[in-house]
Symmetry: C2
Subunit: 451 residues, 2 copies
């Protein structure tokens, strides 16, 4: 990044923050119908803002909330898609906000407001990076296409449908996603792996109705006990998953990854304290970060059967229902894993009950090669923007849109986040450090110049 | 029983049935406040009826519904307490009754009405037995004390409190309880064993709140999985309870009991079909009747943790709660068993979570010596009344008032039931065979003459 781009970003910072505040004032809560007008007004505003920067900007109406699409050609033939979302989470609980969620306020260098970090602040860093490049360099180094969706927080699929439709015209050299986090306040990070997920439920059905436990206790299998025995046969007490062949396709951690994670000095005791558990626990032979980022899980999300009220009720429950999700890592195939789990559930279920299995969604894990030149360019851009070494991290969660980009566009996806988990996305008093906003803007500018 | 007693019962049967219908017309539903007046009117009616037979009859007001107490001396110094209850279950679902629940109706020799079998019909058999003895023999062979409570169906403790208070003046030689069943329509039965019960719940507490299963999955123990693992460590897949020393004090089945149960030709396949389960299941080495009547159980009554709605929610639940009841058999001590279970739960629970245990009620099992002369007299009385061999059975459930009699009065308790489970106690179209009513009256008369 040239000195004049840096200087432009520094000199215009106050105005950039005022403009970001305008963006944040829209209560673009996509989950709430009464905010449909606000959500659309927000889309119009950021579209017009990009139009004002010389972008060919429009709203793509494909069902659901409009997608803001803004294109501007650059000096090179390279094309970069910048992804983000302009919708936000609901604001409740409202009475826990120190200042109103849609009246953005700066206190001690921190900007408070719904959407500050997730995702308007991060999107706007890219917008202001583009503006600064145009002001100082007279054009963009490469073609930039903004794709800003309006239903990320409400589980819509408009963007995925659009990307599938438009993949032949989009054909980018890279996608940049700023909807993730740094490792910590002092450590910029590139996320090179996301876990996949597969979801299902099983129902153990016993007698036609709850039975009197005195009259019938001892005569038949208790469906809740059978469910417990099935689940105990899926994960050992040591944390190892017992489903045969479950780990077969897992890409083992490489030495540099284990070393790199180790250097992050993750504090197990601090997390245990934060979560209020006696101690952490998981698959033996792996550190906490390794388990979170690079190992699959078998998690019970819910288990319900029989009486749940006060004190006691003397019944044998008629059934029990267990909800299961497995987080997956490369190269686990969600469909194969689901089949293995279903087969295992059936094999450990006794013939004294009936077992019903319902399959829900599945999405694949993602793992990028950190030696890809685009990823390396992003690493250098973050180093330039933040003035600190950038670490490679993975993420325990799943970002479905990233899988869509990987599957449909087949190009590198850069996950460069400027926020922090502690910024309170989805919580009251969501905020974004103005220092991170400025440094993120510089990193974004640098990336476009070197990608 | 003399021929003239038999003849008296046969000759007066029509009147007895008409009087029983009067008893049944009171909607003495103790659980429903709007029927408090009806319940009291019913108590007054049966009290006055016994008064009309020369009993010194009154209502004991000890809090809760009144207890009908009626005493009449007899020729011998022996004293028999006859226990029953004049309250009934609510009548709903009302639209499933073929004739109104409180308009008793005879169809094909069967008397339909709420309370017909549970327990007014059975109580009235004893009342009419006493009347027949007085008419034909000029007096009672022994002293008889009726104790008829009005809150058996609503879980009141007035009778238990009264028995504790009055145990020194009551001091009976035997208590007769007709609130149970025959083995089947053709087989009168004496119940010589009841299971006890101990109830508790445990709560596995993990993180302070539900956590995102992507962000945290793999870092900590899942409380629902821990609950499942704990439960699976309590009962083996073969049905054997794994709590150490759980079976230590169980009185083994005697050869005559196994032989006697075997002769009852219990049909496993029929029960499996009735309950709609693929097959029955339980502790290895015991028949179904043996498991139901003479073996203890460890039953999950309910297990709840995490998400229970539609489809999927990607959380690690904060906690899981399991409700447990164990049915006990002689000589298991409920307090010792509870201590063993609690100790086992604590010993198998890992230190990755916090375990909370809440203890609820406990009541001891009951097992009578079938060679006791009173029990033998009752066996002969049933044989005389029903003209068939009487079998000795046990009951998988618990009747708390029987434990109270055993503990407070220390005398034999005769559990002679004239009803059937298929009479529909607690269900619409409750009924009682008039043939059983007549035979039960004869059996009751014979018992008082020979006890």
């Amino acid at each position: 990044m040239t000195d004049r781009v840096q200087a432009c970003i520094d000199e215009n910072q106050d105005r950039f923050v005022e403009e970001l505040k305008q963006f944040l004032r829209f209560p673009s809560i996509s989950a709430l119908q009464q905010h449909d007008g606000d959500t659309r007004a927000c889309a119009e505003w950021i579209k017009d803002h990009l139009g004002g920067l010389g972008f060919e900007a429009g709203l793509i109406e494909i069902g659901g909330k409009p997608i803001v699409r803004a294109v501007r050609r650059g000096k090179s033939a390279k094309r970069v898609v910048i992804y983000g979302h302009y919708d936000v989470q609901p604001e409740d609980p409202l009475d826990e906000w120190k200042t109103p969620p849609f009246e953005p306020t700066v206190r001690d260098g921190i900007l408070y407001g719904r959407g500050a970090t997730d995702d308007k602040g991060q999107v706007f860093a890219h917008v202001k990076a583009v503006e600064s490049l145009l002001r100082t360099e007279g054009g963009l180094p490469c073609e930039v296409i903004f794709l800003l969706e309006g239903e990320e927080e409400s589980g819509g699929d408009a963007l995925a449908r659009y990307v599938k439709q438009a993949k032949d015209e989009l054909k980018p050299d890279a996608v940049v996603v700023s909807d993730s986090t740094m490792y910590d306040a002092n450590t910029p990070a590139l996320t090179y792996g996301l876990r996949g997920i597969v979801a299902l439920e099983f129902i153990v059905r016993g007698p036609a109705a709850d039975l009197h436990s005195g009259a019938y206790g001892g005569a038949l299998a208790n469906p809740v006990m059978v469910a417990a025995q099935i689940l105990a046969a899926c994960v050992g007490r040591d944390g190892k998953i017992l489903v045969p062949h479950f780990y077969d396709d897992v890409v083992p951690l490489q030495d540099w990854e284990r070393e790199s994670f180790r250097k992050l000095n993750f504090n197990d005791a601090a997390l245990a304290k934060e979560l209020n558990v006696p101690r952490l626990h998981g698959e033996p032979g792996y550190s906490t970060l390794e388990r979170l980022w690079a190992r699959p899980t078998f998690e019970i999300n819910g288990l319900h059967g029989g009486y749940g009220g006060q004190r006691s009720k003397t019944i044998i429950p008629a059934s029990a229902t267990a909800k299961i999700t497995c987080r997956l890592v490369s190269n686990q195939d969600p469909v194969r894993i689901r089949d293995l789990v279903v087969e295992h559930l059936r094999s450990v279920c006794p013939d004294t009950v009936r077992l019903e299995i319902n399959e829900f969604g599945a999405s694949p894990p993602v793992l990028f090669d950190v030696n890809n030149p685009t990823i390396r360019a992003a690493q250098e851009a973050l180093r330039q923007g933040f003035g600190r070494e950038t670490v490679f991290i993975r993420c325990g969660g799943s970002i479905p849109v990233v899988s869509t980009f990987v599957e449909q566009l087949g190009c590198p996806v850069v996950l460069m986040g400027f926020g922090l988990d502690s910024d309170g996305p989805h919580s009251p008093n969501e905020h974004f450090s103005l220092d991170s906003f400025r440094r993120g803007t510089k990193a974004a500018a640098h990336l476009l110049q070197t990608i």
